[in-house]
């Protein structure tokens, strides 16, 4: 394991600069595709690779691209979702900071495949320092004729624009992102229609995550078949994991899918074990929105199989004993961590970030936060625990966008696995 595909060049000094990136093989895939492949062939490689969306939902990228309405005579758009704001997730930021040209090249390849002439990078407002880095990269690429009119002498032209958001988590949800990009309040849209038919300015649009689009560069470089041989089953390739919490070596790691969770936490190559040699208590494996799992269930599934870092293995046991790979934000808690306090903290986040459009999420997130605040501050009642479970259930699945689910799952799973701790807080 430990194969670096996205981050293989990350330690090369000066790799942010166009020249250095190109010296180390950068923009070769773009040249290969634009001069020697049809757009359909590029898309075919992505389908073959088995790449799944790295933004959280894990939807097959090639399939998503095939939904794009190609009959419409309106312009098509590609939007790169760089709003990364999920607590625990900080991989896109790292990628953009270290390897901006890898993303730009991915955008060129993807736009070529999709027949897109205008591409937007919607970037989280707080990542101001990255806007300059990306714009410099775009400028360099343009100077070298990898962007702009008639790229490399072909008929393909492309402009990329960086658009900073105003710092709202909800603007990472793809339709809220599109609203925000159009200059409106970032409220998620009601689906259908899906962006593939009516996206940005009502035109056919593809929205993909930063890591997803950067990976397209690697796929064209090595070939879809070769990429699909990495990983296990339907979890192909590599994934960036952002590890944080009570571990010795927090940071961003590229793993080949299928790495056992135990190796990831304890090996020196990755997290380097729990800080101060404490015991592992729990892990949120895929960003704050996914269910938390206690130590025994994160290391092994309920059936006793070692838990692996794949979409399938992490989801095994569904919501009873499983979780999700999500966006790869790996949050580790040691024995001293307080689950109640952490759960309260997360509900505070979701309460603050709910757009307030639909009743279950608007009212439910606030209600859960108030109850958890009381429990954490010694004013809880035993009946509050079941009430929280009921509120979470009434939110889940009944909202416009998945933020409602994302707010409900952490609460439901924390109570499912750590009910005793809640009871002790109340007693």
């Amino acid at each position: 394991m430990g194969r670096a595909i996205l981050l293989d060049k990350v330690n090369i000094p000066g790799i942010r600069a166009f020249e250095v990136y190109r010296e180390h093989g950068g923009y070769k895939p773009a040249g290969k595709a634009l001069l020697g492949m049809t757009p359909a062939q590029v898309q075919q490689e992505v389908i073959k690779s088995g790449l799944r969306g790295r933004g959280g939902a894990g939807f097959p990228t090639g399939l998503k691209w095939s939904f794009l309405d190609r009959k419409s005579d309106k312009p098509r758009y590609l939007v790169c979702n760089a709003d990364e704001s999920e607590p625990g997730t900080f991989k896109d930021r790292y990628l953009m900071e270290k390897l901006p040209h890898l993303l730009i090249e991915g955008l060129i390849l993807s736009s070529y495949a999709l027949g897109v002439k205008t591409c937007y990078i919607y970037i989280r407002g707080e990542f101001k320092y990255l806007v300059g880095i990306l714009e410099t990269a775009i400028h360099e690429a343009k100077k070298n004729n990898y962007l702009g009119e008639k790229i490399l002498g072909t008929d393909f032209s492309l402009e990329i624009y960086v658009h900073p958001g105003a710092g709202a988590y909800i603007c990472g949800e793809e339709t809220a992102l599109l609203e925000s990009l159009e200059g409106k309040r970032g409220n998620p849209r009601i689906k259908p229609p899906f962006p593939a038919y009516k996206g940005l300015y009502d035109c056919p649009t593809v929205v993909n995550n930063v890591e997803t689009l950067a990976t397209v560069t690697s796929i064209i470089s090595m070939g879809g078949d070769a990429y699909s041989k990495l990983g296990i089953g339907k979890s192909t390739g590599t994934k960036l994991m952002s590890a944080c919490g009570n571990i010795n070596k927090p940071g961003v790691y590229e793993i080949e899918m299928g790495l056992p969770v135990e190796d990831f936490i304890y090996s020196e190559e990755y997290c380097g074990g729990i800080k101060n040699d404490r015991m592992l208590k729990a892990v949120i494996p895929g960003g704050s929105s996914v269910p938390i799992l206690p130590a025994d269930l994160i290391l092994n599934t309920a059936k006793g199989q070692p838990r692996l870092l794949t979409y399938e293995s992490l989801a095994e046991g569904e919501f009873i004993s499983g979780s999700m790979l999500g966006s790869g934000g790996f949050i580790v808690f040691d024995e001293n961590a307080c689950i109640v306090r952490n759960t309260w903290n997360l509900t505070r986040f979701y309460r603050h970030e709910s757009c307030g459009q639909c009743s279950p999420c608007r009212e439910g997130t606030g209600w859960m936060e108030k109850i958890l605040y009381r429990i954490e501050h010694g004013q809880g009642r035993m009946s509050d625990i079941d009430l929280l479970v009921r509120i979470a259930k009434n939110i889940e699945g009944n909202t416009i966008c998945p933020l409602g689910d994302a707010a409900a799952w952490p609460v439901a799973s924390a109570i499912r696995h750590f009910r005793k701790e809640f009871e002790e807080h109340i007693k």
């Binding site: 309040r185 603050h352 970030e353 307030g356 009212e363 259930k393 009944n398």
Partner: protein, 322 residues
């Protein structure tokens, strides 16, 4: 034409019809409640979640059920679709949940609220609310403000349906208000506290499903069920002049638009008709409006109970008649 079955009743509808519209064509009990959807306001619906239904069969082509409940107001019918509303326990449970969410921050001030008696949330609570509250948290509170000389805004009562925002956007020339903030702190506000000033602004009162926006010229004048709503019209250069005049004896207490069975305005009316023409000589009174028998407004006996209302002697209940 597409075939759709709602609560075991089959109906044929045109392509593009939503589940809610199809249910309204059937009428009666199968119609899901709608707090935010409003036919004549573009982009409305999908938000309150009280019209959630279960799609037990997606379509004839793809019979798989839709895993989540869907908002019937914004889900188009597919041919062969099977929808469950009142017959699905899951839907009824979810709706109870939605009503609970709508009520946890809504003040229980119906006794002093002008909307009582014609409030959609009141009806919804009778249908799906719990007898006791489960919340011990303080409700959110906002100051009551006048948005202009004609309309009062009680933000405490607002359920964030967006209807007034859409009405202002679509009916008036200068959009003057919208939604501020996020999450459970969002509020309707005029931009920079300006007064709402437009010929059609009064319709915001009519589209509000609760008592958040009320008519300042009618506040605390009377309970609606003491008044007799009459169809009335006049020559008007701004609107059709077709209104409902709410009368007590020969006095007009207030003017509103005419609402259909689903509580939606048949036509938007202008502010001159609504606020300035309160004298009976301004209007041609056509006759009493049809009010649902279940409504507390018809409890004033101004319309005779229809023949055919069956009183079950044993249960002592009255069969509702449209």
């Amino acid at each position: 034409m597409l075939k759709v079955t709602i609560d075991n009743i089959l109906i044929e509808v045109e392509e593009g019809t939503t589940i809610l519209q199809a249910a309204r064509m059937i009428g009666g009990k199968v119609v899901p409640p709608a707090m935010c959807y409003y036919t004549s306001l573009k982009g409305s619906g999908g938000k309150c979640r009280s019209c959630l239904v279960k799609v037990a069969k997606g379509s004839a082509k793809d019979p798989r059920p839709i895993p989540k409940l869907v908002a019937s107001c914004s889900t188009p019918v597919q041919d062969g679709m099977v929808v469950e509303n009142t017959i699905s326990a899951e839907v009824q449970e979810a709706r109870k949940g939605v009503v609970e969410f709508l009520l946890i921050n809504h003040p229980l001030d119906c006794p002093v609220c002008d909307q009582a008696g014609e409030c959609d949330l009141q009806d919804l609570s009778y249908g799906f609310g719990m007898e006791e509250t489960n919340t011990r948290e303080p409700r959110r509170e906002y100051p009551v403000v006048d948005i202009g000389p004609l309309i009062k805004l009680h933000m405490n009562r607002c359920i964030h349906c967006y209807r007034c925002v859409l009405a202002a956007e679509q009916l008036t020339k200068k959009r003057a208000h919208g939604m501020l903030y996020r999450g459970d702190t969002i509020e309707i506000s005029t931009f920079i506290r300006t007064a709402i000033d437009s010929d059609f602004s009064g319709n915001m009162i009519d589209v509000c499903p609760v008592g958040a926006l009320t008519d300042r010229s009618f506040r605390f004048k009377s309970r609606v069920w003491f008044l007799n709503p009459m169809d009335a019209h006049r020559e008007c250069s701004h609107c059709s002049g077709k209104v409902a005049a709410w009368m007590f004896g020969n006095e007009i207490y207030r003017i509103t638009g005419r609402k259909d069975t689903f509580g939606e305005l048949e036509e938007f009316i202008c502010n001159e008709c609504r606020f300035e023409k309160k004298d009976i000589s301004d209007w041609v009174i056509e006759g009493p409006r049809k009010i649902k028998r279940q409504s507390v407004i018809s409890g004033n006996h101004y319309e005779q109970m229809k023949k055919g209302s069956i009183i079950h002697p044993i249960e002592g209940t009255t069969e509702p008649q449209e």
